[in-house]
């Protein structure tokens, strides 16, 4: 136990004095600070012109109809909805109009073939061009209104009928996926990044000790279980404090700068209920540990640093598959599908799967309890197993041993 404390302190110190680690942390904190102040920075440049641009600077939209009355009505309505355009009535032939668009004098044109039919001319059709959709709605309304007036309905009544508003309200009894989506997404992504990054670090750390032969002395000085747990917990503390710093900065600056960040999307990210936050920490720590132990064990079987990349591949695949299942389920909106149900009990996938389900669906307390219990049990089991692999692995040099050899050696009675 005493040794464990010393190892933990030494390893932790290793992270805190590592210039790259400190540099990345500072970079992330500064980056997040900049992101949090982007609305203020944009506001700084925009404050002069109040967001109004002179009509002459707006792109030109042409409206053309044989019937001059129709042309005037359409122009009037379009001016109301296309505020980003300078809407003009066109004169001349359709060929002149096309010429104006191709030469860039006008941006687009609506040529009315009748009251309910038009051709839209545009040079390059943008992926996000919604002009025809807007025009459809407006023209539909104009057409209906005109028809009603023509059929002797008073124009006020016609306007009232057309502008009727449906009042609605939604009461969420379970979870609001829309609201929870973004912070769940961010948390799953953070978990993914941190586990991969720190897992690699643990594996590299062990393999470096082995390749520098510091291991020869370490195995004779400390017991392998203390070594393994010390290393993994140190990386966990380092990773966690890095996250706390980054997210802490984000939360702090959000509260300082709440007014400028009034966007409901951003607000939803920071509005995590406290019980979800606790689940987040539980799943995060356990998920981190279970993978870090595996990475550590694998690091101990590699005799050269170059071997690590191939050795960690199976774990990486396992982890990426878990990540993919969760991400696809999240974006499809069905987080309670069979794959997710299974994944929320498998210890290697449950940190992500179960957490997502808790955030975005309604999960019974006993399901959560079972999942966490399995995860804790497996983490301890994997921890002990990895310490044994470590004990065997650190003294093997040469070719990375076969999995079967390791298993045989580990389970052979000591």
């Amino acid at each position: 136990m005493k040794q464990f404390g010393k190892i933990l302190k030494f390893e932790l110190n290793g992270y805190l004095t590592n210039k790259i680690f400190v540099g990345i942390t500072i970079f992330l904190v500064v980056a997040i600070a900049i992101v949090m102040f982007i609305p203020n920075i944009i506001g700084l440049f925009e404050s002069d012109d109040d967001g109004n641009i002179a009509p002459a600077d707006l792109p030109t939209m042409l409206v053309y109809a044989e019937d001059e009355k129709l042309s005037a009505i359409v122009k009037q309505y379009f001016e109301g909805v296309f505020v980003d355009y300078n809407v003009k009535e066109a004169d001349g032939s359709i060929d002149d109009l096309k010429e104006m668009i191709t030469s860039g004098d006008a941006d687009c044109a609506f040529v009315m073939n009748g009251e309910a039919s038009y051709t839209y001319y545009v040079n390059n059709l943008s992926m996000y061009d919604s002009n025809t959709a807007i025009a459809d709605t407006v023209l539909q309304e104009v057409y209906r209104w005109k028809q009603m007036v023509d059929n002797d309905i008073p124009s006020e009544t016609a306007s009232e009928i057309l502008s009727v508003q449906i009042e609605s309200s939604t009461e969420i009894l379970g979870k609001d996926q829309m609201q929870n989506f973004f912070y769940t997404y961010i948390m799953i992504f953070a978990l993914y990044m941190v586990i991969l990054l720190y897992g690699q670090m643990v594996a590299t750390n062990v393999a470096t000790e082995k390749s520098s032969r510091a291991m020869e002395l370490l195995v004779t000085s400390a017991n392998p279980t203390s070594m393994m747990f010390g290393k993994v917990l140190a990386s966990c503390i380092a990773g966690f404090s890095q996250l706390v710093l980054v997210f802490g900065t984000a939360i702090l600056l959000y509260n300082v700068n709440k007014e400028a960040l009034s966007n409901p999307l951003i607000a939803s990210i920071f509005d995590i209920p406290i019980e979800l936050f606790i689940y987040l920490i539980v799943f995060f720590v356990l998920g981190f540990l279970i993978y870090a132990f595996m990475f550590g064990a694998i690091g101990s079987t590699a005799s050269k640093l170059e071997d690590i990349n191939t050795s960690v591949m199976p774990i990486m695949f396992l982890f990426i598959i878990a990540f993919m299942v969760v991400m696809f389920s999240m974006s499809s909106g069905s987080v309670d599908n069979t794959a997710m149900l299974i994944c929320s009990y498998i210890p290697f996938t449950s940190p992500m799967a179960m957490f997502t389900r808790i955030c975005m669906s309604t999960v019974a307390w006993y399901e959560i309890a079972i999942s966490i219990a399995i995860l804790i049990g497996s983490t301890v089991g994997i921890g002990i197993l990895s310490a044994r692999i470590y004990r065997v692995g650190v003294l093997l040099y040469g070719m990375p041993p076969k999995l079967s050899t390791i298993i045989k050696t580990v389970f052979k009675k000591q």
């Binding site: 010393k6 000790e209 002395l217 195995v219 004779t220 003294l395």
Partner: protein, 296 residues
């Protein structure tokens, strides 16, 4: 204090590495553990240090099973290596702490040893900025800083210049004088002969010979004569295959039976012009080659 390894067996998978290895090392004396590459010396040392257990056999201190929480062991591994990117003082204190010292005592002791080995100026430098010999001295401190009862030195002199070798000899003598058990493993026989009172030669996992070095030499079969003469050709021609020339020009005469020694010596002195004649005393090198060289 007496350290005793008793019929140690160890196999890795199918491969039997140690087959009933036993030897005894006493406090206040240096013990040489010899053997060819791959003979099982390092495995022996690792079992002694409890890195892994033996399949059977015991490690005893004064007749009782060794208690690793009480007996401190210092180890200079043959494969040297510490943390290249870390400060020297940090890692030395860390290793001493792992061996059970408090931070304060560890720092104190490490500073003493840095000073003793003339390395104080490197205290706050990174290990990889040092030369190989100096790194070796730093490594030696990890073996000695926690004042262990048993000191195991594997090839301690390799890579050291003559001045540093002298310094290390003094340190080793000092440790022996303090009554510690000093276990040497080396292929440089001259150092073993200089320090060690007793030895064990391991060959293919078995102890080929062990015991007091002087006794081993005395008991060596006295069936060879070393002859210095001005006319070696005549003797060689007369004795044929029983006679061979040594590197220094003297002749080595193999006797068919040790008890004909007197008769042969007399005959040689009477028949030839002899400068010097003596019974062949083997060096440790000869003993090593004889016991470790064959049966492989």
């Amino acid at each position: 204090m007496v350290l005793e390894l008793k019929s140690i067996d160890k196999s890795f998978g199918e491969k039997e590495v140690l087959k009933g290895v036993s030897f005894t090392a006493e406090g206040g004396k240096a013990f040489g553990l010899l053997g060819r590459n791959g003979a099982g010396k390092t495995t022996c040392i690792r079992i002694l240090m409890n890195v892994f257990p033996a399949n059977s056999g015991e490690v005893l201190i004064d007749g009782a099973p060794i208690d690793y929480s009480k007996i401190g062991i210092g180890y200079l591994p043959e494969e040297r290596g510490l943390y290249p990117k870390k400060l020297i003082i940090d890692q030395l204190v860390y290793f001493a702490e792992l061996k059970g010292m408090s931070r304060k005592d560890a720092t104190c002791s490490v500073d003493y040893w840095l000073d003793r080995l003339g390395m104080s100026e490197y205290r706050n430098k990174r290990l990889d900025t040092l030369s190989k010999g100096n790194q070796q001295k730093i490594q030696l401190i990890t073996a000695l800083a926690h004042d262990p009862d048993i000191v195991i030195l594997d090839e301690p002199f390799s890579g050291l210049d003559p001045v540093n070798a002298m310094l290390l000899k003094d340190v080793v003598k000092e440790q022996i004088a303090k009554g510690k058990i000093v276990l040497f493993s080396s292929h440089q026989m001259s150092y073993i002969e200089e320090f060690c009172d007793s030895i064990a030669i391991i060959n293919a996992g078995k102890v080929a010979i062990s015991g007091d070095l002087y006794e081993i030499k005395r008991n060596y079969v006295r069936d060879k004569l070393v002859v210095s003469t001005v006319a070696p050709e005549r003797i060689k021609a007369d004795l044929g295959e029983a006679c061979s020339e040594r590197e220094d020009g003297s002749l080595l005469i193999h006797l068919t039976r040790p008890d004909e020694k007197q008769a042969i010596m007399k005959r040689l002195v009477e028949s030839y012009d002899i400068d010097e004649i003596k019974v062949f005393e083997p060096s440790l090198n000869d003993i090593f080659v004889e016991y470790a060289g064959e049966q492989v």
